[in-house]
């Protein structure tokens, strides 16, 4: 097993030579930066496919009677849309993608702890994605991304393929989680104590154990569903003594932490972008780091709040309601701290900053409706309706995806050496922000008035708002097409970035863009938090003085 | 003496041996440091407990034995 050379000291000069040849460098690469870029590109391909599926969903819902696709096909489409967005887009982008790309540099490491394992986890990911999409050929699963049995036991053959695909992507996540935990525990540069780690690293450090533990629990549930479907071994089928509610426990024990897997790294991204462009330290560093860890821990104790209508004993439901309320406290602390970070700053409106501020505005709405849903009496009304659809999209699109876009605009120069076009970027932001709100805000009242989720046809009284949402969603798609055009165009034609186009202070900006193989010739020593703009950089022993970093963020007016 | 009695006798005798060995190893390693030794100590403790459980099962204290002649 190849293990990366560790930090400074006696082995500082022990650097493997950079491999030559296209395949070793860019395909089966061991370099965490290349693997991160591979993750990002692959995940955005799946993102495009999932976006097409989303537009198919909205097109079907233009008319109350549907008619764009058959009912069964519609059910397949939203199931694959959900599964893709969760497992093939958001989780890989935030952990495997941005995680791999920057956090080893941020802690002053030359690579992750197990580069081979890292390469393996990446290559499992596109394979499982292809498996998931190939389930369309067999008859894709129809019961949504949650695949509750017994209806998923009746599903077409593709449902078993779905189990296998998600199992595999889970194995990949578990390996990534192990890799990241060891990397953060063991490979920090000298002086990089826990209280000096950038907050993105804290985000990854809170996420990695979730990846490692929760994903394995999901693997067990998927394995049970698979063997039940293929070999008739009864776990969930009530006709044979199994329990369908047991699947919900096993599934949500993973999938609630999965929500935090999808949001904690995005919190980290926002906590990097805000101080950089406000020219000001992040407000309440310790409390933000601590709240990430407590959210991760509490995340394991609230899974049954997805199951208030499933027939649990009332005394079991109560603690889940209250613990879910409690999660609101650390989340609120984060939101307040980010807002306070802007106070008395010198705010530069780059696209990354716009997305970060948009994140706070939208995620807060999703967080507040999350508290609504935790209240059992209200949840008994809106569970399984479009209110839930609205809530989860505010958290996962308004939260995670806005964070991902902020990260893309922020770190694209580090990946490619060039800036994304800021004019197109701002157009992307505004169209996306407006389109998103127009699409998902009406879903709140649709759900409260009586529109259930996962439906191919609906009551004609909801026609107006559904059409409204569909047209707004086309606006969102148009915004995303602008982003794709921008990314492809900027790789060749973007403005050259230089090492530190934003004047940021974390370690990844103190080395060239794109970084050299093995990141640092000499591993630097760290003397403090990266966020204080009034002091010199808290690093010693950086490779060379970087004189090409402009003090003003490029693209800010 | 039927098969079940032999199995029980084996479980009791070997259970005593394994439990003693496991707890002795734990005693010897008590002061060992380092990550893996901490794990070893926990595992030896559980191993010894497992052996005790098996020996109790052999003695018919815990677990289920089918009625005679079944």
């Amino acid at each position: 097993m190849a293990v990366a050379a560790v930090h400074a000291g006696g082995i500082a000069d022990h650097i493997h030579p950079e491999p030559q040849g296209f395949v070793r460098r860019y395909v089966f690469s061991l370099d965490h930066k290349i693997i991160g870029i591979q993750y990002i590109i692959t995940a955005f391909v799946f993102f495009m496919l999932a976006g097409l599926l989303a537009e198919a969903i909205r097109t079907q819902l233009l008319n109350p009677g549907g008619g764009f696709v058959a009912n069964g096909t519609y059910n397949e489409i939203y199931s694959i849309h959900g599964s893709t967005m969760v497992w093939l887009v958001t989780i890989p982008l935030l952990t495997g993608g941005f995680g791999n790309l920057v956090f080893p540099i941020m802690i002053g490491a030359r690579d992750v702890a197990f580069p081979w394992l890292n390469m393996l986890s990446f290559w499992i990911f596109p394979v499982s994605g292809l498996m998931l999409f190939s389930s369309f050929l067999l008859g894709a699963p129809t019961a949504g991304w949650m695949e509750y049995p017994p209806v998923s036991l009746q599903g077409a053959a593709g449902t078993s393929m779905w189990c296998a695909a998600i199992f595999l992507v889970g194995v990949s996540s578990t390996m990534t989680g192990i890799n990241f935990v060891v990397t953060i525990l063991k490979m920090r540069a000298p002086g990089m104590t826990f209280t000096r780690m950038p907050l993105f690293v804290w985000g990854q450090f809170a996420t990695a154990p979730l990846l490692m533990i929760a994903t394995t629990a999901l693997a067990a549930a998927l394995a049970a569903l698979f063997i039940e479907r293929q070999f008739g071994v009864p776990f969930f089928d009530p006709a044979k003594g199994g329990s369908p509610v047991m699947w919900q426990h096993m599934f949500w024990f993973y999938s609630h932490p999965a929500v935090y897997i999808m949001i904690l790294p995005a919190f980290g991204i926002i906590s990097e972008v805000l101080p950089t462009f406000a020219r000001k330290p992040i407000f309440g560093y310790k409390l933000i780091a601590f709240s990430s860890m407590s959210i991760a821990l509490l995340g394991f104790m609230v899974w049954a709040h997805h199951m208030f209508t499933s027939g649990l004993a009332p005394f079991l439901q109560l603690p889940f309601m209250i613990l879910t309320y409690v999660i609101g406290v650390p989340t609120g602390i984060k939101i307040f701290s980010w807002t306070a970070t802007l106070f008395r700053g010198k705010i530069h409106y780059t696209t990354a900053m716009l997305f970060a501020i948009g994140f706070i505005a939208l995620f807060t709405i999703g967080g507040i409706t999350g508290i609504f849903l935790a209240a059992i009496p209200f949840d008994l009304h809106v569970h399984g309706t479009y209110f839930i659809v609205a809530h989860l999209h505010y958290v996962l699109v308004g939260g995670s995806l806005m964070g991902i876009f902020a990260g893309m605009y922020y770190w694209f120069p580090k990946m490619s050496g060039r800036l994304l076009n800021e004019t197109l970027g701002k157009l992307h932001f505004w169209l996306f922000f407006i389109g998103f709100n127009l699409t998902f805000l009406p879903m709140h009242w649709l759900g409260m008035e009586g529109m259930p989720r996962e439906v191919a046809t609906y009551d004609p009284q909801f026609t107006f708002w559904n059409r409204f949402e569909s047209f707004a969603s086309y606006l969102m798609t148009f915004a995303i097409l602008i982003f794709f055009f921008n990314a492809i165009w900027s790789i060749r034609n973007g403005k050259r970035a230089g090492a530190n186009p934003w004047g940021a202070r974390t370690l990844e900006w103190q080395i060239p863009s794109p970084p050299n193989y093995y990141n640092f010739k000499h591993v630097p020593t760290v003397y403090g938090l990266p966020y204080d703009f009034s002091t010199p950089l808290p690093y010693k022993g950086l490779d060379e003085e970087l004189t090409d970093s402009p003090p003003v963020p490029a693209g800010a007016h | 003496m039927n098969a079940a009695t032999i199995e029980r006798l084996g479980a009791v005798i070997a259970g005593i041996v394994v439990a003693v060995v496991a707890f002795y190893a734990l005693y010897k390693d008590w002061r060992a440091e380092g990550t893996e030794n901490q794990v070893f100590k926990l595992m030896l403790l559980l191993l010894g407990l497992g052996a005790v459980l098996a020996l109790l099962a052999g003695l018919n204290v815990v677990g289920f034995a089918p009625p005679k002649g079944a």
Binding site: G232, K240 | A11, A22, T35, E36, F40, M43
Partner: protein, 204 residues
């Protein structure tokens, strides 16, 4: 740290790279065991959930498991845990032959446990009860969990056999023997899982 000092103490000039990467591998391996443990825990949760789902246990038509043979078979596996522990101890102290014998004893006991499992499966499926994987929730939980554990034992036996071959070829030296440590950790883990499975299936 102790590992490093042990290695230096033994050889004096063990390279730094090995010592530091050994720590990484150790932590990675322990975390792998943690996630494997979660896998077992999930299935154990499923078993306990089904067991308490209201129709009584064992389900109608199935007799309670007989503990006598299982107790003997468990002691065989626990014994292999003890021999593995002493294999590692002897290797640390440079007693190569004793290490080899303890390792071989572990393999024999592990294989013996697998044989016992096969005997028990045969007994349950054909001789006494009419139960198999797909025939009910008892079969589903019992054969899934013990089968998963059996697979772990099987992979362990294979790995220990590889260790024998590697050791004969001189792969491990007194300072560099992480493969043996990992094998011991894994084998202990498999034992401890069996303690839990034995308790919940045969004693509960």
């Amino acid at each position: 740290m102790s590992v490093a000092s042990l290695a230096r103490g033994a050889h004096g000039e063990l390279d730094q790279l090995y010592i530091e990467t050994r720590e990484l591998r150790l932590q990675g391996f322990l975390l792998f065991l943690v996630s494997d443990c979660v896998l077992f825990s999930s299935f154990i949760f499923a078993y306990l959930y089904l067991r308490n789902s209201g129709q009584g246990w064992p389900p109608p038509g199935i007799q309670r498991l007989d503990v006598a043979f299982a107790a003997w078979n468990s002691v065989v596996l626990f014994g292999s845990g003890a021999t593995m522990h002493y294999a590692l101890e002897n290797f640390k102290h440079g007693k190569w032959m004793a290490y080899m014998w303890f390792l071989l004893a572990t393999i024999v006991l592990g294989a013996g446990f697998l044989g016992g499992q096969a005997y028990e499966y045969n007994h349950l499926i054909y001789a006494e009860h009419v139960t198999w994987w797909g025939s009910g929730i008892f079969g589903a939980s019992f054969f899934t969990l013990t089968g998963m554990h059996g697979m772990h034992v099987f992979f362990g036996v294979c790995y220990l056999t590889v260790l024998v071959l590697q050791s004969s070829a001189g792969v491990y030296t007194r300072g560099k023997y992480f493969g043996i440590t990992a094998g011991t950790l894994y084998w202990h883990f498999v034992d401890v899982i069996w303690v839990v499975l034995f308790s919940i299936f045969y004693l509960l």
